[in-house]
């Protein structure tokens, strides 16, 4: 495996004149494979790198997530409703507190777009579009949506996708001449919020659905908030522009429901006191 990757890097390098720099990079990469990533001796304030294998230090993950979230916000700003923003943060943080990563700087937001979608950037930065928010009928449905995204962060799905991308891009990206640190992070995450436009594999989405249902249930909500949202989205027509990206990057809601149904089975029959809280869902103007 390692051998194959080195070959790939060599192929990439041979297309570039800066072969000497490349050798240095290659040595650096090799060192990263053998040394624990947490102890990477970087100067304070340096741009985080994404090691192609192993753990990305949490501080770097957070920086990367901030960069991606800031890019998404550059495309669609926060809805100008402070009470709404505070509300989704409370619901989201309570859900995240039931996860294995309660201490991340969890930040949730509703962004001003009529598209129906939600984004989970590494480090705990989660953005939901207003187009999705207005479809929700109670707090348990909001919890279901946020819990699915929290699960992506807990399992580091997008971070791993970035690592895989890095692996392919390492030969060319790391060969670039030193640039300003922000540009360098930008180079590492691709252009804009490209990573958020890319789909995870189906297994990751199904896993986030299963975990989302459990996280919402752990938080005391009705377990069927997420399934109810999938049902709502499932009957939106795929040729509607508003769900185009969501449908492109996720398995069809019907398939997600079917998988979730198989996984949930009768396991939730005994849980009868989950809350829906329709009266507490913060209403925002469309």
């Amino acid at each position: 495996m390692r051998h194959a990757i080195f070959c790939l890097l060599v192929v990439l390098a041979s297309t570039d004149a800066q072969a000497q720099d490349f050798e240095k990079t290659l040595r650096g990469l090799r060192d990263q494979f053998t040394a624990p990533a947490q102890e990477s001796p970087r100067a304070e304030g340096a741009a985080p790198s994404i090691p192609p294998f192993g753990e990305v230090p949490e501080a770097d993950e957070i920086k990367i997530g901030q960069r991606i979230a800031g890019n998404v916000l550059g495309a669609a700003p926060l809805v100008g409703d402070p009470a709404l923003q505070r509300y989704v943060n409370r619901v989201g943080r309570w859900l995240a507190s039931q996860s294995e990563r309660p201490g991340l700087p969890w930040t949730f937001g509703v962004i001003d777009s009529n598209d129906v979608n939600a984004f989970a950037a590494p480090g705990g930065y989660i953005l939901v579009t207003k187009g999705l928010y207005v479809l929700l009928r109670d707090e348990s449905e909001l919890a279901g949506v946020l819990a699915h995204e929290v699960a992506h962060v807990v399992r580091k799905h997008h971070l791993k996708l970035l690592q895989q991308t890095q692996l392919i891009g390492a030969g060319t990206e790391l060969l670039k001449q030193r640039v300003g640190k922000d540009q360098r992070v930008q180079g590492l995450i691709g252009s804009g919020a490209e990573i958020m436009a890319r789909g995870l594999d189906k297994a990751a989405e199904f896993e986030a659905d299963r975990m989302g249902v459990v996280l919402a249930t752990r938080a005391g909500y009705d377990s069927f908030g997420l399934p109810a949202v999938l049902q709502e989205i499932g009957h939106l027509s795929a040729d509607s522009g508003a769900v185009a990206l969501l449908f492109k990057t996720h398995p069809h809601p019907d398939e997600r429901l079917a998988r979730l149904g198989e996984a949930m089975g009768s396991r939730f029959d005994g849980i009868k006191d989950g809350k829906s809280l329709p009266e507490r869902l913060h209403k925002t103007s469309r």
Partner: protein
């Protein structure tokens, strides 16, 4: 007699207008039960692809009618509704092609609150530090979230993650 039928029809229309009844489609073969419990008596079956009328939801169950049979079926066996379109342009008051943020003429139109967020918009997005700071300013502590949960009488419980189906 005629009068009765008319009022029944009127009631039906009222119910439809209020969205009280909604149709759905069975995603798989399943049984109808007398009550919304897994061990309740079986009163019928629903075949994959069958049209059902949804009466109401109680947690993980829908009360439905299939033909002349009524009963409770697991929510996850049903897809709600018929395919309907939502059109962000219409919602925004008839401005065309807003999901790309552009009008048909290729000119940028004013899109306050109706921005699309497709692949292109994400790829060309530029980092907005002020917006990020603003978003971060709304983050809350775990203690704050816990107090909020308590207000809603949300009680945390232990529950293991679900294995993938088939395991």
């Amino acid at each position: 007699m005629t009068r009765i039928r008319v009022s029944v029809m009127a009631l039906g229309l009222l119910a439809l207008a209020a969205g009280a009844r909604e149709s759905g489609v069975a995603l798989k073969d399943d049984v109808l039960r007398a009550e919304p419990f897994g061990d309740a008596k079986t009163v019928g079956t629903v075949a994959k692809g069958a049209q059902v009328t949804i009466v109401k939801r109680v947690s993980g169950w829908y009360q439905v009618t299939v033909g002349k049979t009524g009963g409770w079926v697991r929510l996850l066996s049903i897809r709600r509704g018929q395919a309907t379109k939502i059109d962000p342009a219409k919602e925004a008051g008839g401005v065309a092609a807003l999901s790309s943020g552009r009008g048909g003429t290729g000119q940028i139109v004013s899109t306050t609150g109706v921005r699309g967020l497709g692949e292109e918009e994400l790829k060309t997005a530029e980092f907005d530090e002020a917006a990020l700071k603003k978003a971060q300013s709304f983050a809350v502590s775990q203690a704050d979230a816990q107090a909020f949960a308590a207000k809603g009488k949300l009680k945390a419980r232990k529950l293991d993650y679900l294995p993938p189906p088939g395991d």
